[in-house]
Amino acid sequence: MIQQILAQKGIIVSPEEAEEILGFLKNLENLKADFDARSDSTKDILLTQVAERGFEHVR
């Protein structure tokens, strides 16, 4: 599956490389699993904050 998706984006990988990428992506998903589980209302508030305040770092 990953091989096909990447191929559509012009990136050709071997089955072994696809497996390694899949492992990496699963690790990342696990790192924020409970962030995903927050309530929809909290997400709405956060998205509003980002839209209003932008991504700037320190100001």
């Binding site: 984006k9 790192l31 956060l46 320190v58």
Partner: protein, 466 residues
């Protein structure tokens, strides 16, 4: 005699140069001799420029003799990470693809160091495109840690920290996107400061991830870090992220009196899954800071637990854009680990990236709250003992640990938030240096340097035996 000179700090040397008691030529020769003697093993230099350095040293000597002393870096030999543009010189960025890249102008930091009268002895090894924490460079060979040449020096500015630790240069500049100044500084026992986002210009520095990249010094003392920061900090109209911050003279204002300073300790993230010896060395250091008059407060920064996710998504997404064409057209020209991360980034969604930015915002708010209770936050720089070269898996107190993922775990929050952070040596774990990380409020570089300076008075730099 020559080794004695090369082992000194800039703070020790600049008065001698100013008073014409020391020749920049003699000083440069002393460094070049050490590079010839030791760098065959350490491999901290990608390219050397001995003749140009000696010519620049002769010019500096003539200027100083004529009464035109420019300041504390005049006549001081430096070598920078091979990622900064030097006009009409080859800059490789540690890559095969850019191995013949010759910029037509200087990076702003290079321009400022040249203006300050610094001399350049060469360009230093790094993880390919600064995209990794080991400096196990497939194109230019692995850089080795001067404390144990079987070990990594950390990265991505591994050549910089290794060269500084081994006294193959007096100071260097690195870049830091997830910890790439502080990680090698901890691993090699040097001082490394990542300034606040926007304080130091990135113009002419090849980007890894533009919203996380920072430029800063790596040195053998806090005083030298302050001297370097004085030379490079300040607004640059050519860098869209540059900030008009109040001008501070870090070196002149350094103060080791930290009585009454409040040190914040965050335990849930910064002391979770950290090697026992490292944790103990850092806790001992905190006790020493208390003995110097600081107070300790426990603080909470709940969103730190998402930092690794936000860091990987942000840096890989932005790097994936920068290398978008080459990763499709010539993937075989990237090193194995860099190729994997750039390909994986093509799988990330816009939602992933936006979630990562949400987390950054929440972390910033957490830090702001923590800084209402504390002046600085102190933590380990690395959670794991320095791995061997090529080692992909290690363990932390018996728990398996992926080196590439865990080496940046404790440093990346300062990149995600843009806050300044310095790593100073604070002890040893299995004979390898341990780093103490001091994180401050935005633009509070002087405050974190002062805490580092106070600590350095009781725990100065130690030279590795080569």
């Amino acid at each position: 005699m020559s080794d004695e000179l090369a082992l000194k700090t800039i703070a020790e040397l600049h008065p001698l140069l100013e008073k014409k008691q020391l020749s920049p030529v003699e000083l440069t020769e002393s460094v070049l001799k050490r590079v010839e003697r030791y760098d065959g093993t350490i491999n901290s230099y990608i390219s050397k420029s001995a003749e140009a350095a000696l010519a620049a040293a002769r010019q500096a000597e003539a200027e100083i003799q004529a009464g035109n002393y420019r300041g504390k870096l005049h006549g001081i030999p430096l070598a920078l990470k091979d990622i900064f543009d030097f006009k009409n010189e080859t800059v490789t960025i540690g890559s095969k693809i850019h191995r013949n890249y010759v910029p037509n102008q200087d990076a702003t930091v290079v321009e400022r160091l040249k203006h300050a009268g610094a001399i350049f002895t060469g360009k230093l090894n790094l993880h390919e495109y600064a995209c990794g924490g080991t400096t196990n460079n497939e194109h230019y060979g692995p850089c080795r840690n001067p404390w144990n040449t079987n070990k990594i020096p950390g990265g991505s500015s591994g050549g910089s920290a290794a060269a500084v630790a081994a006294s193959l240069t007096f100071a260097s500049l690195g870049t830091d996107t997830a910890g790439s100044i502080r990680i090698p500084s901890a691993a090699c026992g040097t001082v490394g400061i990542k300034p606040t986002y926007g304080l130091v210009s990135k113009y002419g520095c090849f980007p890894l991830a533009w919203s996380l990249d920072h430029v800063g010094p790596i040195t053998r003392s806090v005083e030298d870090a302050a001297i370097m920061l004085d030379a490079i900090a300040g607004y640059d109209a050519k860098d869209p992220n540059s900030v008009q911050a109040p001008k501070v003279s870090y070196y002149e204002q350094l103060n080791a009196d930290i009585r009454g300073k409040v040190i914040g300790i965050e335990e849930d993230f910064y002391f979770h899954l950290v090697d026992d010896q490292i944790s103990q060395a850092v806790k001992n250091s905190i006790q020493k800071l208390e003995q110097l008059g600081a107070k300790v407060e426990i603080v909470k920064i709940p969103h730190l637990k998402y930092a690794k996710f936000a860091e990987f998504i942000t840096f890989a997404s932005e790097a994936g854009v920068i290398h978008r064409e080459n990763i499709r057209k010539r993937p075989e020209d990237f090193g194995t680990d860099v190729r994997m991360i750039l390909r994986a980034s093509a799988m990330f969604s816009a939602a992933d990236y936006l979630q990562a930015q949400q987390i950054r915002l929440l972390m910033k708010e957490d830090f702001l709250k923590a800084f209402q209770k504390a002046d600085v936050i102190v933590a380990p720089t690395l959670p794991l003992k320095t791995p061997d070269i090529g080692q992909q898996m290690t363990d932390i107190n018996g728990t398996p640990s992926n080196v590439d993922e865990d080496i940046l775990r404790l440093t990346c929050p300062a990149n995600l938030t843009g806050l300044p952070a310095v790593s100073v040596p604070c002890g040893f774990a299995d004979g390898m240096p341990v780093g103490l990380q001091i994180i401050g409020k935005a633009f509070a570089e002087l405050e974190i340097l002062n805490v580092a300076y106070a600590f350095e008075q009781i725990h100065p730099f130690i030279h590795p035996e080569l």
